[in-house]
């Protein structure tokens, strides 16, 4: 198999959790592989990341430049194209930066491209068989990639478990000299931090979380009434924010808030991995959804196939009744 590289995402001098996951993914491609980490950045932050990575990667390629102090996908693509040998396999985390970088990188490396891979079944000759999900996770697909001229693959964060005891004491190799001048048609300006919002959903033990199944803005009240009765807060998945039915600050997921409640009531939420990525601390997850094939039922503790528009008011009444008795 070809040489394998791992693109290391990092921030504030610390590498992302995916750094270890990409090693696990590389070993699924080729059990004998020793992937090379590629880290781009600037200053003490970059040096810190490289020093830490030596513990798990045998070789760490470092590319330092002032223009890379904030990760610009176009500059980074141009740098990678200069240093990555033809025919290589490049692993990139499937998050906002990987989605920005990887497709164009595959074109410039003349490599095959496959995205959001959550399992690797192994290599057969010059082919690699991987698993992806489609249709919001309702079905999975085996995908066969011809890696003869290389492969760029984005790996779903959290899908590959880091290997135990993979000590390396690796070398850091400075590759800056091979890169030269970099220019881009896109320039980073600033990061606008998310607004806090009226309700801090990260502070609640119980969340009544609604998804597309709530159907229209007026129905949000059904969830709010239940939340009020329970002493809970209403949170939501992406479609509810897209439709402007709730503020962005109520959104749970990789592009929203990370929450750690004790109980999570997923109401009319299909359960995309981006949404599930925002639920931490293994809460007791109760899912109510009309679609018996909704992926949320694969991860929930308890599931009910029902229409939330009818189920939620009955549950609210029951809670109120119980409160009166108590």
């Amino acid at each position: 198999m070809a040489r394998i590289f791992a693109y290391i995402a990092h921030k504030g001098g610390a590498h992302d959790d995916t750094a270890a996951e990409l090693i696990a993914a590389a070993k699924k491609i080729d059990p004998t592989a020793s992937p090379t980490a590629i880290v781009l950045g600037w200053g003490a932050d970059l040096d810190g990341v490289c020093a830490t990575l030596r513990a798990s990667y045998k070789e760490v390629w470092k590319i330092a430049h002032e223009s890379l102090a904030y990760p610009n996908a176009e500059l980074i693509r141009k740098a990678l194209v200069k240093v990555v040998p033809p025919g290589s396999i490049v692993l990139v985390p499937h998050e906002h930066f990987g989605i920005d970088l990887a497709p164009g990188l595959s074109i410039k490396l003349n490599a095959a491209f496959v995205s959001d891979v959550l399992a690797i079944e192994g290599a057969e000759g010059s082919f690699l068989k991987v698993v992806r999900q489609e249709f919001g996770g309702q079905v999975s697909a085996h995908v066969r990639c011809d890696v003869t001229s290389g492969l760029v693959v984005t790996i779903r964060p959290g899908a590959f478990k880091p290997l135990e005891g993979a000590a390396a004491s690796g070398n850091v190799v400075d590759k800056f000299a091979e890169v030269g001048a970099l220019t881009a048609g896109r320039r980073y300006l600033e990061t606008v931090v998310a607004e806090v919002g009226d309700v801090d959903i990260t502070k609640y033990n119980v969340l009544v979380s609604i998804g597309r199944g709530i159907q229209e803005k007026d129905n949000v009240a059904l969830a709010q009434e239940l939340a009020d009765a329970l002493g809970a807060a209403v949170s939501c998945s992406r479609p509810v924010v897209d439709a402007k039915w709730l503020e962005k600050s109520r959104q749970v997921g990789s592009s929203g808030k990370t929450v750690k409640p004790k109980v999570y009531l997923a109401c009319g939420i299909s359960g995309s991995f981006q949404h599930l990525a925002g639920i931490k601390g293994s809460p007791f997850l109760i899912a109510i959804n009309k679609n018996p094939r909704a992926p949320i039922f694969q991860v929930a503790d308890v599931g009910i196939v029902d229409d939330i528009l009818e189920f939620l008011p009955e549950l609210t009444n029951k809670v109120r009744e119980m409160r009166r008795v108590a």
Binding site: A73, E74, H96, F97, I99, D100, A102, P103, G104, S106, I107, K108, A112, F113, S115, D116, F135, Q138, V139, S140, A141, H142, V143, R144, S149, G185, R186, Y188, L189, E190, T191, V192, V193, A194, N205, G231, A232, A243, Q251, S255, G256, T258, V263, L285, A287, R293, I296, Q298, V299, D301, V302, G303, V305, D306, F311, E314, L315, K318, V319, M322
Partner: protein, 263 residues
Amino acid sequence: MEILVCARRVPDTSENEIALNSAGNDIERGELVYSINEPDNYAVEEALQITAKVGGQVTVVTVGGEDDEEILRREMAMGATQAALISDDAFQGSDGKGIASILKAFVQKGKYDLILTGVQADDGGAQVGGMLAAMLDYPFAALVNSIEVLDCKKLKIGREIAGGNREMNEIDLPCVLSIQTGINEPRYVGMRGIRAVASVPIPTHSASDLALDPSTVGGSAAKVKRVDYFVPALGKGAEMLNGSREENVDKVLELVAAKGGLK
């Protein structure tokens, strides 16, 4: 500003229970409800809002077959001035790179300042926009959730990054942007609007019209191929409550209380 939006017709995940066909090589397509890929619809709306402010025209293009024409008409009913269907038997089995190659050939026949795609399709790889940009040597940004026209040479754009934060960038035109859902509120399209454009001719372009080398597109050029579909056995799955609604309500309440959710 001349804007091209690349759109697709897909089975609507929110409207369908997706199941496998008996052979396991595809999903069961007989009863599926199709619609425009949701992020693509936001992309068309964004294009219309930009041209309403600064002038210009919006063209919507799709690679597909006769059935796909319906989404082009829908987007024309929204306000797109032109549409084009790129269709050829030679395109069957194209992978993401193949589709990007086809779109590149189409782009090069026209003159566009800005090209928009949806960030991803439900059966897609969030790939065609980034590939198209690289092929054209245009700047690119993925997950765009705000666009402001600064002048005829550049835009100020926001990208959705982790934690609800937004990364602001300046980007030179011409460029390719992949549009995230929620960037705007797409306008409603009624039956009357669709009927109004029902007889507008939509040009079809074949591989030869676009001077495409057939060896660069279609199944034979595809390096990435779906082998089959399957439904994975993931974890233990939820304990399904199959009682009456009243019984289920009682059980949920009991569980919420037991897990410390009632104070």
